[in-house]
């Protein structure tokens, strides 16, 4: 019985979302500017975020998986903080660091005239901040499961550390990378709190799909519902791909 209540608790709101959606007019609502603009922006920012996640996260996961340095445990703990941190706190933290009066943002503006908040760059930074830990944690898990003798064999065959990493390690942990990427991407797509705090909300520039839902809900609820249904569909597809291929 408690199990049923648990299932119902999750399923009922999702069904309600589908039930309240204006299906015959869905096409019209989807063509409203807020939907197209925010979906395009979300596709762009999460795409850039994922490239950065791969470039920064993969070597980081490898370092965490293989290093025996006492600081590694600390690094691992710190990198996972955004996993549990309320996103809006992440947004405030980003603002304190990269804002015009921030620790990094202050000098950045004074010396180079670069301001970060309210830009699409700020959106990507907010997404990267929340998504990177998901990727690193799951890829590190896969890399730690890798037999150390694999790197040793590669080394005896004359491969340097970089070559071992690129040609031996990465192909072997590809399933872990794929699962981590899907999780990180979904988290980036859903990012709201840090974005609205750090990047504000401007259609086409910083108003991503979740911010679009929030803004449209009070003005054009049908468009908000249409956008929600699109995001729900995307989430289900991602989850389905994950379960069928890597989670079983």
């Amino acid at each position: 019985m408690p199990a049923l209540i648990g299932v119902a608790f999750v399923v009922v709101p999702l069904l309600a979302l589908l039930a309240r959606t204006d299906w015959p007019q869905l096409g019209t609502h989807l063509s409203s500017p807020v939907v197209g603009q925010s979906l395009r922006l979300s596709a762009l920012t999460t795409g850039v975020t994922m490239v950065l996640v791969w470039l920064l996260g993969t070597p980081l996961a490898w370092l965490l998986a293989r290093s025996d340095h006492p600081l590694t445990a600390w690094a691992r703990a710190v990198i996972t903080v955004p996993l549990v941190l309320p996103p809006v706190v992440g947004g405030v933290a980003l603002l304190m660091a990269w804002g015009r009066r921030g620790v990094v943002g202050g000098p950045l503006e004074a010396w180079f005239g670069i301001t970060v908040p309210f830009t699409t760059v700020a959106v990507v930074m907010a997404e990267l901040f929340v998504a990177l830990p998901f990727y690193v944690v799951s890829v590190e898990g896969a890399m730690r499961g890798l037999d150390r003798r694999v790197d040793q064999v590669a080394a005896t065959l004359g491969a340097g550390p970089v070559r071992t990493f690129v040609h031996v390690v990465v192909p072997l942990v590809l399933p872990g990378i794929a699962a981590g990427s899907a999780l990180a991407w979904a988290r980036a797509l859903g990012e709201f709190g840090a974005t609205i705090t750090f990047a504000g909300s401007f259609p086409g520039r910083t108003q991503t799909a979740p911010l679009g839902v929030y803004a449209a809900l009070e003005q054009d609820p049908d468009a908000a519902l249409a956008l929600s249904v699109v995001m729900l569909a995307v989430s289900v597809v991602v989850l389905g791909a994950l379960r069928s291929r890597w989670l079983r």
Partner: protein
């Protein structure tokens, strides 16, 4: 393997429980100590109000509680459009007080339990950081290139007022962000992230020395009228609405920078 996993799992549960209790203990201090946890009853009145009323409503509530011993008034602040949406979705509330008349339009008929009473007016002002880095001296400076300007989103009254102001002045400034309510707009200026923000003059006054205000001349400004009405059939709800029009409250509103209740 299985047995060994139990201990950390139990430890985790205990840790989460401890964290929740700590959070609960923290909020306990901030909330009203008396009957904060009890369901809405005869002794509490719930007022949902526009965020621009955040500071001024506190003394108004205090004086109303003073007139009605034993009564506790709970207030919650959000964008006017959010307030109306919450009430339409069935949020328990007795009175709503909003920052613009058009926000009231979506309020469903069966939640309206009394006449709409216009209890104050407000005007826009340009809020700038104390050191005014962009040197804003008036409306026309908002046209400057490279200025970071934040305004309210169009679904909230301050956003509608801003749009009216821009249309009437033929201004098409470069906006950095449309914030979800007037206090969010003010905060971006307070933090120095924006060079200027369009907010109500009362918000600038309430922020004290954390921001500076640049006046918009009366003849170029726009006026928002603040409506309030009872959204439950309790007698106290209507009394609170009437209280807003009392001389005492009107004097306080004027002190805070609002205009007095317009002719009804």
């Amino acid at each position: 393997m299985r047995a060994r996993r139990h201990t950390p799992a139990l430890g985790l549960v205990a840790l989460l429980a401890a964290a929740s209790l700590t959070l609960a203990a923290c909020t306990r201090d901030a909330a009203q100590p008396d009957n904060a946890d009890e369901p809405q009853d005869a002794l509490t009145l719930t007022v949902l109000a526009a965020s621009s009323l955040t500071d001024v409503l506190e003394p108004v509530v205090d004086s109303f509680e003073g007139d009605h011993p034993g009564l506790s008034v709970r207030t919650s602040f959000a964008a006017s459009s959010t307030v109306v949406q919450q009430v339409n979705e069935g949020a328990p509330a007795d009175v709503v007080a909003l920052a613009g008349e058009s926000s009231l339009e979506p309020l469903e008929q069966d939640r309206r339990h009394g006449p709409v009473s216009l209890f104050a007016t407000n005007q826009l002002q340009i809020a700038v950081p104390v050191d005014n880095p962009a040197g804003i001296e008036g409306l026309d400076d908002l046209r400057a290139d490279g200025l970071t300007l934040v305004v309210c989103a169009e679904q909230v009254p301050c956003g509608q007022a801003t749009e009216r102001l821009f249309a009437q002045e033929g201004l098409q400034p470069d906006v950095a962000s449309y914030e979800s309510d007037v206090r969010a707009t003010l905060t971006k200026v307070e933090l120095g992230e924006a060079d200027a923000g369009l907010v109500y003059r009362t918000d600038v006054a309430a922020a004290g020395d954390r921001v500076a205000g640049v006046e918009i001349p009366e003849e170029r400004n726009v006026v928002n009228r603040y409506p309030a009405l009872a959204v439950s059939d309790r007698e106290l709800a209507q009394s609170f609405v009437d209280h807003l029009l009392s001389d005492r409250v009107q004097a306080r509103l004027v002190d805070a920078g609002f205009g007095p209740a317009p002719e009804q």
